[in-house]
C-alpha cells in the first residue's frame, strides 16, 4: 500500500467510460491480451477438437415394432424418428439408414440415405402383426450396420430387460382406452346358427360403445340399429345374435376408438371338411366303428364307395382306393400276453402318448415291409403299423393285434391315436372348408400338388362378396397366411374353391394398452465410431509452440516494465 498526498488528482484522471473502468484499463495492456490469447489456445487444445471427415458415413438401423398396437402411435413414430436421426448420426457427415420392422417375415420398409424418403416410406407402412420378439431382427440389424453402427428399436411398451446388441430403445406408447372384440363362437339351435362374441374393455375406466350387425343380401348390405354397450373397467361382455339365414357373410362392428383393428368381426358360416367313413368290421369289432363315428368330430357315415374317404376294416391292409383303419380279428383264444418293452418311435401320431399299460395277447401278426412306418413296438413285434400306398398316397393305420383281445380300447392313447389319424386324413383331404380365422394365421390348405396343377389364388372380398384383391401363391416354399386386416377371403385352385374364411384380429395382448408408456434407453455409443468419423486437429503442435511463444513475449513485456518503473514507495 502506498500513501500519497495527490490521490484527488489521480481520481481526476478516471474518465467516464461507457464500457466501465475495467475495460478501459485493460485496453492498452499487451501482456494481458497475449495471455488471453494463450488461454484461448490452451482451451482449444484441452477441448481436443475433432473435425468431421467429409466422407464418413454412419450406418443406422431403425426397427419398428410390428405389433398392431403401434398403429395407434403412428404419428408419434414419425416425430420420434425425425428427432432420433440426428442423435444417431453423431459426428458422421453422411448416413445410411435401414428401416425395418420386428416381424422378420415382413420386408424392410426403407433402405437408403435420405431421411425424407424414409419418412415417405414410413407413411405407407402399417403395423398389424401380433406380438413379436424383435431379437432376430435386431441381430440382423447389427450385422447390417456393423459393430459401430447405431440401432434403435421403436416400440410402444418399454422392455423389461436390457435390449441385446447394444440397441437404443425408444418407447412412444401411452395409456389408450380401448374396447374390442376378443373372440367368437357358434352354436346351432335348430335351424338357426347363433353367433356369440366377447367384447372386452381393456382400459381402467368405464367405457361406452355401440355395435351393429350388417350382412350381405343380394346387392345390398343392410344393417341393424346401433345397440349400446356400457362396460366397466376390465369387464368382458358377451353379445350374440342369429346369423342371418339368407346371408353367406355378416359383420359385427363396434363404434370407433383409437385402436380400430379389434372393432370389426367378420363372420361366415363355419363348414368344416367332412370325412366320409364306412365300417365293414365284423360283429365282434363293430362297436369300434360305431364309437369312432359318434365320438370323432366331422365324420359322417358314407355308404357310397365313390365318396368314401376312410374304411374301417378287418381284412384289407392295402390302402389303394381309400384310407384304412385295420382291426384284424383273431379267433384263437387263450394266447399268452406279449412281453417285452413297449416302444413308440417318434411320430406325430403317437407323440406324447403313453402305451406302457397296454396288454396284448400274442395272436395274429400281419406281415410288414420296410416301407411301413412302425408306430408302436413291443419287443421285436410291431403292434401298430402305418402304411401308405406309393401311388395313390392313401394311408392305412393297421393294428397288428386283435384289439378285442387287449385292453387297447381302454387306453386313452388308442383314442387319441385314432382321432389324430382321422384329423390327419381330414386335413389332407382336398375339399372346401369354411371357418373363422385370425389375422396372419398360418394356413395349411390341402391342394393338388402335381406339377401341372394350377397355382393357389387368394382373393379378398368385401361384405357383399365383391373381390377386392387377388394374390397368386407361388408353388414352392410359400407359407399361406390369413390376411393381416380383418375381412373376408377365399383360396382357390383353378376353378375349385378350397377355403373360405372371415378373419378377425384376435391378439388381445395388442389390444391392451395398459402397459404402454413412453421411455428412452440410449445405448452406449462407441468411442471408436467417434474416431472413425472424425479426425484430430493436426495443428496441435503449432498451437503448443505458439502458446510458449506468447507466454515468453508476455513475460518479457511484464519483466521489462517492472524493471523500468519500480513503484515509488512513500
Amino acid at each position: 500500500m502506498e500513501i500519497i498526498s495527490t490521490l484527488f488528482l489521480l481520481k481526476q484522471t478516471q474518465r467516464e467510460s461507457s464500457s466501465g473502468r475495467k475495460f478501459e484499463n485493460l485496453r492498452g495492456s499487451i501482456p494481458l491480451w497475449l495471455q488471453l490469447l494463450a488461454v484461448i489456445l490452451v482451451t482449444w487444445l484441452l477441448v481436443q477438437p475433432r473435425y468431421v471427415k467429409a466422407k464418413s458415413t454412419q450406418r443406422i438401423a431403425i426397427i419398428l415394432d410390428s405389433s398392431a398396437s403401434m398403429s395407434v402411435f403412428k404419428q408419434q413414430i414419425t416425430t420420434s424418428l425425425i428427432q432420433e436421426i440426428p442423435r444417431l448420426t453423431g459426428a458422421a457427415a453422411n448416413i445410411e439408414i435401414w428401416l425395418m420392422e420386428s416381424d422378420t417375415t415382413k420386408p424392410k420398409i426403407y433402405q437408403g440415405t435420405s431421411t425424407r424418403e424414409m419418412i415417405a416410406a414410413l407413411d405407407q407402412w402399417n403395423a398389424n402383426s401380433g406380438a413379436t420378439d424383435p431379437s432376430n431382427t435386431l441381430r440382423i440389424a447389427r450385422s447390417l450396420v456393423g459393430k459401430e453402427g447405431a440401432i434403435t428399436y421403436i416400440t410402444d411398451t418399454p422392455l423389461d430387460s436390457t435390449p441385446p446388441y447394444n440397441t437404443s430403445i425408444l418407447a412412444i406408447g401411452s395409456h389408450v382406452p380401448n374396447c374390442g372384440i376378443t373372440g367368437v363362437s357358434f352354436e346351432q339351435r335348430g335351424e338357426d346358427l347363433i353367433w356369440k362374441a366377447l367384447v372386452k374393455n381393456y382400459s381402467d375406466s368405464a367405457q361406452q360403445r355401440t355395435w351393429y350387425l350388417e350382412y350381405s343380401q343380394k346387392d345390398q348390405t343392410p344393417r341393424t340399429k346401433d345397440r349400446s354397450l356400457n362396460l366397466k373397467a376390465g369387464q368382458i361382455v358377451t353379445i350374440q345374435g342369429v346369423f342371418p339365414n339368407e346371408a353367406e357373410r355378416c359383420q359385427i362392428t363396434l363404434s370407433d376408438d383409437a385402436f380400430l383393428l379389434d372393432n370389426t368381426l367378420p363372420l361366415v358360416r363355419p363348414l368344416p371338411k367332412p370325412l366320409h367313413v364306412n365300417s365293414s368290421l365284423p360283429e365282434k369289432l363293430r362297436s369300434i366303428g360305431t364309437r369312432i363315428l359318434s365320438s370323432f368330430p366331422n365324420l359322417t357315415e358314407e355308404l357310397e364307395t365313390n365318396r368314401l374317404d376312410l374304411q374301417l376294416t378287418s381284412t384289407d391292409t392295402t390302402p389303394i382306393n381309400h384310407h384304412l383303419i385295420v382291426f384284424p380279428e383273431d379267433r384263437s383264444t387263450s394266447r399268452p400276453y406279449l412281453t417285452g418293452n413297449i416302444v413308440a418311435p417318434k411320430n406325430a401320431l403317437t407323440d406324447g402318448l403313453n402305451w406302457q399299460t397296454l396288454l396284448i395277447r400274442d395272436n395274429i401278426s400281419l406281415p410288414y415291409s420296410e416301407a411301413d412306418t412302425i408306430l408302436l413296438w413291443q419287443g421285436e413285434r410291431p403292434l401298430i403299423i402305418l402304411r401308405q400306398d406309393p401311388v395313390e398316397k392313401h394311408k392305412a393305420l393297421i393294428f397288428n393285434f386283435d384289439i378285442s383281445q387287449s385292453n387297447a380300447l381302454k387306453q386313452p392313447s388308442t383314442a387319441v391315436l385314432l382321432l389324430r389319424f382321422c384329423e390327419q386324413l381330414r386335413h389332407d383331404k382336398i375339399a372346401l372348408e369354411t371357418r373363422i380365422t385370425e389375422t396372419d394365421e398360418p394356413l395349411q390348405i390341402a391342394h393338388n400338388k402335381e406339377a401341372n396343377s394350377p397355382l393357389l389364388t387368394i382373393r379378398s372380398h368385401s361384405l357383399s362378396g365383391e373381390t377386392l384383391d387377388t394374390t397368386t401363391v407361388q408353388r414352392y416354399g410359400s407359407d399361406i397366411t390369413a390376411p393381416s386386416q380383418p375381412g373376408f377371403f377365399s383360396i382357390t385352385q383353378g376353378e375349385t374353391t378350397l377355403f373360405t374364411s372371415a378373419t378377425y384380429f384376435a391378439d388381445t395382448r395388442e389390444a391392451d394398452f395398459s402397459l404402454c408408456q413412453s421411455d428412452q434407453i440410449y445405448a452406449a455409443t462407441a468411442a471408436s465410431a467417434e474416431d472413425r468419423h472424425t479426425r484430430e486437429d493436426h495443428y496441435w503442435r503449432i498451437w503448443g509452440f505458439l502458446i510458449l511463444a506468447i507466454l515468453t513475449v508476455s513475460w518479457w513485456f511484464t519483466s521489462t516494465k517492472s524493471k523500468e518503473s519500480r513503484p515509488v514507495s512513500t
Binding site: 500500500m1 502506498e2 500513501i3 500519497i4 498526498s5 495527490t6 490521490l7 484527488f8 488528482l9 489521480l10 481520481k11 481526476q12 484522471t13 484499463n25 492498452g28 495492456s29 516494465k561 517492472s562 523500468e564 518503473s565 519500480r566 513503484p567 515509488v568 512513500t570
Partner: protein, 292 residues
Amino acid sequence: MNVDQLTALYAQASACAERLTLPLRNQVWRGMAGEFQGAGTGSSTDFQDHRAYAPGDDPRHINWQAYARTGNYTMKMYREEVRPVIDIILDASESMFFTPEKAARTVELFYFATISAIRAGAATQIHVLKGDQYTPLPIDAVTSHRWYEQVTGKNKAADTQNLALDKIQFRGNAVRILISDLLFEGDPTLPMKLLTAQQGKAILFAPYLRAESDPEWSGNYEFADAEKSGEHPHRIETHTLNLYKKAYSSHFAQWHSVAKRFSAPVARVSADKPLLDALNEESIKAGALTIQ
C-alpha cells in the same frame, strides 16, 4: 522529529534567512513604529509632502528654499517609520508531514518565515490550521520547538479538504504567509480572497516532492490518502500517468493564475534539494523573497 532535528532545521532556516528575506519593503505599512516606511508621516528621513507652517512646528523642518522663493513658511513632511504586520499560516495537514523529506521542508519553511518575520521586527502572529482545526501558536513555542508536538500530535482532521482560513481573524494590512502544499481540491479563489482580505498581501510557499510532481508509477497499486482512511486500488499505465502529471500541472497552474489576480506570489519549494537552493529556484523569481 525530535528536538535535535528541529534545532538543526532551525539553524538551516536561520542561515537562509540571512541570505533571503521576505519582500516587506515593497509594502506600504501602517501601525506601530518600526523600520519600514509607513503610510503616514513620521520622523523618518524620507520626504513625503509640504504643508503650511503652524505655530509650534519644528523650525528644523521649514523648507527655506520654498520661503526664499515664495516668502511663505512651508513645512516638509517625512514618512513615518512603522513595524510590519505578518501573519504566518501553517497548513499542518498530514500531507505536509507524510514523508521525512517533506516534513523537514515544511518545518524549514515555517522556521524561515518565523525567523524572517522576527528579524524584520514585524508584529507576528502564527496560526496553525489542520483541516478545520485552528490553533494559534505563540512565537516562543516556535523558537523553543515545542510547537511540533502540539501540531503533529493532534488527531487527523475531519474529512475536510480546504483550509479553514475563515477561522483566522486576520489583521488588516498584514502580510499573510501561507505555508501549504496546496494539495486540496476546490477553486483557489476563496482561500485567496480570505488571504488578501482587509488589504492583506499573501505570499504562498508550497513545499513539494518530486514523487508528487513526477512519480514513476507503473502497474497495480493500492493507494491510501495521507489525510484520509481507506484504500484505493488503481492500475497505473503510461497513459494514466501522463494524465496525472497533466492534472498536477493544471492544478498548480490554476493556483498561479488565481494568485496572480490577487497579486500574491506563489513559490513552490522542492523538498528534494537544500533549502537555499530550493528557495533560489523559484521564490525570488516569483517575488516571494528578496535577496538580503
